[in-house]
Subunit: 207 residues, 4 copies
Amino acid sequence: MALSEMTTDAPRRGRPRSERSQRAILRAASDLLLEHGLSEISMDAVADRAGASKATIYRWWPSKELLVLDALLSEWASGTADAVDTGSLAGDLHELILPWTRQLTTKPWGRVIAALVASAQCDAQFAEEYRAHFVKLRREPGRTALVRASERGEIAADTDVDAALDLLYGPFYHRLLHGHAPLTERFARTIVEYVVAALSSPGRERR
Amino acid sequence: MALSEMTTDAPRRGRPRSERSQRAILRAASDLLLEHGLSEISMDAVADRAGASKATIYRWWPSKELLVLDALLSEWASGTADAVDTGSLAGDLHELILPWTRQLTTKPWGRVIAALVASAQCDAQFAEEYRAHFVKLRREPGRTALVRASERGEIAADTDVDAALDLLYGPFYHRLLHGHAPLTERFARTIVEYVVAALSSPGRERR
Amino acid sequence: MALSEMTTDAPRRGRPRSERSQRAILRAASDLLLEHGLSEISMDAVADRAGASKATIYRWWPSKELLVLDALLSEWASGTADAVDTGSLAGDLHELILPWTRQLTTKPWGRVIAALVASAQCDAQFAEEYRAHFVKLRREPGRTALVRASERGEIAADTDVDAALDLLYGPFYHRLLHGHAPLTERFARTIVEYVVAALSSPGRERR
Amino acid sequence: MALSEMTTDAPRRGRPRSERSQRAILRAASDLLLEHGLSEISMDAVADRAGASKATIYRWWPSKELLVLDALLSEWASGTADAVDTGSLAGDLHELILPWTRQLTTKPWGRVIAALVASAQCDAQFAEEYRAHFVKLRREPGRTALVRASERGEIAADTDVDAALDLLYGPFYHRLLHGHAPLTERFARTIVEYVVAALSSPGRERR
DNA sequence: TCCTAACCGAGACGGTACGTCGCGTCTTAGG
DNA sequence: CCTAAGACGCGACGTACCGTCTCGGTTAGGA
């Protein structure tokens, strides 16, 4: 509902928007998304399953991609989980990464995200929307943790934070999207360990 | 041509396959791919531009995805570039990564690859084909370099090679697919540096 | 419109069928039919000329044959011309046959009908539809005239009415479909004369 | 074989035409014709079933229609049956009509002929070929019989022979092509009887 | 005994049309 | 003003035939 809510201050006249339809549409989209790929689901099918009309969907969501993005967000409504300060970089990153990977692997969201990533390639506007809600949302807490670690002197002051964030998140997206190996908890711990080691390497510190 | 070539030893009967058509089709696919996204290009358009008939395309490529994969491979025909032994892990990884990122950034292949990644989510067979030709092809030289580094004692013997490879390649795919930051040479150098630092960290070695 | 109209009493929901499209499609079909043979016209061409979409055509007519049949009927909408009672068999048959042959010869319907006849050979359902709307529609007034003549004693009571109707209509269809000779008014008069002679022959009456 | 035989006097060099293929093709065409309609059979299917190549078919028959016509003629190779002089018009017509209707009804040739008739509508050259081999072939003996009857004084000297032939054959083609009633022997006898009555009607003679 | 012309099968080729499906828009009636 | 229903124009899908075109082989007569 995050995306389709355009809060106008005007005291809306006429029949109000049906919450029932809205929920049914997002639910239908989510369900179909887990069964098929984004390109395999049709607006007709969503409308059908939701018992809604296509016109109603298009009235509130300008495209299939944004509908799906909204459906995804409404499924993951919780979970922003502002960075907890555990006192160490390793601890902070664990707190960020482990719940996130668990969320990613409970259901086949990988293909949904992959499809959104693909859609984003041809639609700059949607790309921005997607990045704002998916990528940055996760990176910002990570950035906070890195800055804290830098202030504590745990990592170098001249650390390339953006590259470091890519070093952290990249491996997960890589496995999620390419599927060449599973996204296990063990893998998550290993990556966090490597990232911490990379950034806190004495060799770098001395430079 | 890698994919559509099924070398049968049997003495081919009937009219032989037209190499001209084959090339024209792959070229048309490549060209269109650089102009539009995978989902925006139609088989009709490819056939039209290639001066071929749709039937001919479907005779040799079972799906748009495999055609596009083939087109991509034929564009990048060269470039496997077996791992050069420079004597150091950092040198080896540079030799692998820098030419590859240069190749990725000369043309807008990002969206093509993203679309292929998306397609792979819903088609296990294509996913395997894609991974074999795109992902593994790049990982194997990296694996070789890591094994050499391990044998030289440059990195720990118990290094998780698969995770390390994801640590190396993940950040590049991340930026390529999400587009939140550019794939610069500077970025490549930084990531290689971090990866080397992560694996050769004295803290790890002593353990 | 006769064929594609399924009058349901239910209070029609949703957007109503577009009469404009319907008319344009039938018109396009008629026009193309007069220029080419049934097998030369394509649904694409009909859709194009009608400014309609193929889906709309297929929504209302299950096959090209039924569309063409409908187009033909809508062109000949009038003209059933219930048998007029002129007091004599010869007069009645003239009233039936002459306007009909004029209708048949004003435009090149011959090849259209021939094509429909051919199509009917392979599709029993369409054959029935065709016969009901084309053949029987004309035979019934003829049958009425014959029965009247029989009641008047003009022809034998034991006349084989079906054979007599074939004797009457067969020669016209023969020339129409085979084209070995023209369907002139003179020919029509001659056939009617022969048929009346055949049925009212004293030789037969006495038997 | 009648149609595809262009007897050149030149002493053909090279490999002679394969009679085996020719027979197989005609047989395949006949078989498929009895199972499906002309428009349902494809040259590919004929080639396949005959174990021949499409090129071979097109080398000898310029179109599907002419191939089918040839196949039909080769099935009915015999049967021209020059008019027998029985001494009476009724007898002569019986001799002509009864064997012919028997031939027409033994197998579902009706639809084949109907399809040829339809094809003839759009191809004047084929139409002529068809009429020459199918229609005229039957009409000529009929014409002979009528002329004899006229000379004997059995029918009027001013009889319109062409119309009379249409009166005779039309009803059969009508039932054959429209299928509204069966082509029984009883029907044949009735039509012949009516035709004789029509032509020999005293009313006409005296006029 | 070769040579070579004409045939043969197999099967790929550029096309055209098929009938279906999904898109995003529209036009109804009704809450 | 919103909703469900559903028809609309559009355009791509993957398939089936069309008639043509190479191929490698085969089968004759003439050299």
